[in-house]
Amino acid sequence: MQAFARLLDALSFQPARNAKLRLIETYLGETPDPDRGWALAALTGGLDFPAAKPALLRGFGQEKIGEELFTMSYDYVGDLAETLALIWETDPDAGPPPTLGEVVETLQRASRSETPAILKRWLDALDSTGRWALLKLLTGALRVGVSARLAKQAVANIGHQPVDAVEEIWHRLSAPYRPLFDWLLHDAPRPSSNAGGAFLPPMLANPIDRTELDTLDPAHFRAEWKWDGIRVQVASSGGVKRLYSRAGEDVSGAFPDIVDAIDFEGVFDGELLVRRETAVAPFNDLQQRLNRKTVTPKMLKEHPAHVRLYDVLWLEGQDLRVLSFDERRARLEAWIAVKERPRFDLSPLVTFRDWAHLAEQREAMRADGIEGLMLKRADSAYLAGRPKGPWFKWKRDPMLADCVLMYAQRGHGKRSSFYSDFTFGCWRDGADGKRELAPVGKAYFGFTDEELRWLDKWVRDHTTNRFGPVREVSHGLVLEIAFDGIARSTRHKSGVSMRFPRINRIRTDKPADEADTVATLLKLVP
């Protein structure tokens, strides 16, 4: 546990990617099984301890120093695990600290009622860094700037293999990954990838704008709509049917309607949508289906899921990723023509003469459920990751509104001393006939670091009221907010909710009373 704590500690302060890789590689090389395997599982987000949830940790903290002081401490630090690690004091009589393997194996066996006592003993025995690492591990949010991909890169590096060779077999493996280390370090055979049921790393696009398009030859590209859902991979092989998110997370459990409808073998790339009749429902509807452990029949009926297919990666036992986009597209169209499947359809190609023609179609398309256009080189093979050049996304221009800053809240993590979460509002007529501001959204990005420092200072200089980590400010700053969509909402006081709002510009030039009204926003609702 101490070695793992030192690794996490060093990673958390090391900004350079290569240095992070070196730290992980060194750790994986020096640490014996099964500890290194558990560490890899932790870094890739593959460990879950049902008995150690935030409420338990909060309870520990409150027990130690009382609710008020614990709340103040947490507000200040902005991270629950770190707060508890800092307020707890090491007990010199608590005996030796546990190993990582001991922690994982003990918690997997321990009952819910045994866990608190075990945890307390470990917290007493570890030092502050050890406690922090233990608690980060238990809450499943390491936040040390290491993606699952980076951890897999490190493990691939120690065996001198490309990272995709690890990605392809990843979903066949489970922690503590002994066969993986045996293959990478001890010349054992590569664990079988059983292509088809496994997750294949998806190909991603780079953003592009109108001016950059002029440097490209339109004849080399195919266009299709970028649907506003969730990018997924449908993978089926040997009776194993799975739905993966773009990051390789298995989301089959939340979408039994899709999984049950898989009556084929192959791997497809597509967009997960909620679809009623032929219309794509707003993203909000899809959100109702996400992150659910169990799905009710009502939910299945009212929010039916659907996959709109973009691409085919594997079909009839054959890896198609080496083929060109045009060839894969032909295979996909031929396949879908054979049998009608209500849960699956094809994302149509958008034909165009030149970029101006495509721009016109992009402008004209105001339908819900479309985020913009995808541009794919006709000759592009399906490459994992985000290669520069073959694929582009050309998003719809965001909508804009001038809103007035109303509240600011300190951020968490790296931003814990900055007022970085901004609630803004638009004007409407209040009950007493006077104009008042109604909050219409909250944004915590879109600004540069320099603008953040400026905003933080503005908030501190214009505070009129404080509620814990939240400050109310005088109504004097106009923010131009960009957002990708807007819908009516019964949950929000103003009656509207914005999708993906961010701060586009700070309008110091505009007086607050000239900001937009709620009525203006309502006109934007489709």
Binding site: F13, P15, Y76, L86, I87, S416
Partner: protein, 344 residues
């Protein structure tokens, strides 16, 4: 009439010492303690910029603090400088003013103010752990204790200085080809870190950023042995590989650092105990070394001083007020002008 009405009304301490926009004002003595602006008469607890400011007509402080102020403010020829040693006292108006060591930096003092049988201690900034560059904090029994609250949250438990210096020396041993740039506050932290390195047995030359020289010289003149120190600007044919270089934190991200060998940025501050703070400051090697009391020291000090009333200033007042009330002390926050969150 009963005799009750003849009993003297207890003196309200807020009636003779209270915050004003210029700073904490003592009315019967007609002076300010650590005022935020130039005033006629000032009592200065220590030399840090948010406590000691230039331009006062008269300033009462320890001889060391006055020396620090002269170094920082071009000798202060227009200020009537009134040195007062620890343990001595002087009358200002109707108030008796004395100084007791605060253990914060060289010359740092608690101002002990006595008026009509009531005693208020303005502790300024203080810490309780040993510091090789100044005498330790001395608890003074009093009616009102004014305490700082820079690190007044239970999350602040500063680890041992020796352990943190050990972290730095281990890193120097692990990366012998790189320069260790250590960000330190020019007054106090710098000299303390040098002394701690010497105590840990590090006897190589320690390099200094130009802005640290004057105060290091002042400490040396006060008999604090810093060993072999030299300004970076005087280095000839020096690669700085494996070297320790001290500089103000602001210089860590400066173009000045380009002369060094793949530098590692270490930052010495109490804030380094909180990860988000350390990352914000760009620290690759955070070292938790502070000249301010941590939570345990603050709470212990309230018990040691035993004042029935405590006023809490600059920092996280809320938490310390809450704690003090929970142990039966009449505590409240005291909002003073000009106190920013400083390098600590």
């Amino acid at each position: 009439m009963t005799t009750d009405t003849l009993a003297p009304t207890p003196l309200n301490p807020r009636s003779w010492l209270y915050p004003t926009p210029r700073g904490l004002y003592c009315e019967p003595g007609d002076f300010y303690v650590d005022p935020a602006f130039a005033v006629a008469r000032a009592v200065i607890t220590h030399g840090h910029g948010d406590h000691a400011r230039p331009g006062h007509r008269a300033a009462l402080a320890t001889p060391e603090t006055l020396a620090i102020m002269r170094t920082r403010f071009q000798d202060m020829p227009d200020t009537d400088q009134q040195p007062l040693k620890y343990g001595e006292s002087v009358r200002m108006g109707e108030v008796e003013v004395g100084f007791a060591p605060a253990g914060h930096i060289l010359g740092s003092a608690q101002a002990v103010l006595a008026y009509r049988g009531q005693r208020i201690v303005v502790s300024g900034d203080f810490k309780r752990r040993p510091d090789p560059t100044c005498p330790p904090f001395e608890p003074v029994p009093c009616d009102v204790f004014i305490t700082e609250a820079t690190f007044a949250l239970p999350v602040f438990h500063h680890p041992s200085d020796a352990g943190e210096i050990g972290k730095l020396l281990r890193s120097v041993a692990t990366f012998p080809e790189r320069t260790h740039l250590v960000g330190v506050y020019a007054l106090g932290k710098c000299q303390r870190v040098i002394r701690l390195l010497r105590q840990a047995g590090y006897d190589k030359r320690i390099w200094l950023h130009g802005s640290l020289l004057a105060l290091c010289k002042l400490y040396q003149d006060h008999g604090i042995d810093l060993g072999d120190v030299a300004p970076v600007s005087e280095a000839i044919l020096e690669t700085f590989k494996g070297a320790i270089v001290l500089c103000p934190p602001s210089a860590l991200a400066d173009r000045w650092t380009r002369r060094f060998a793949d530098p590692i940025a270490a930052v010495c501050s109490g804030w380094m105990g909180v990860r988000a703070r350390a990352r914000q400051r760009g620290a690759e090697l955070p070292l938790i070394i502070s000249d301010h009391a941590d939570w345990a020291e603050l709470t212990q000090t309230l018990k040691d001083v035993g004042a029935p009333k405590v006023w809490v200033t600059h920092g996280r007042e809320e938490a310390l007020v809450h704690y003090a009330r929970s142990i039966g002390i009449d505590a409240e926050a005291l909002h003073l002008a000009g106190r920013e969150e400083e390098e600590s």
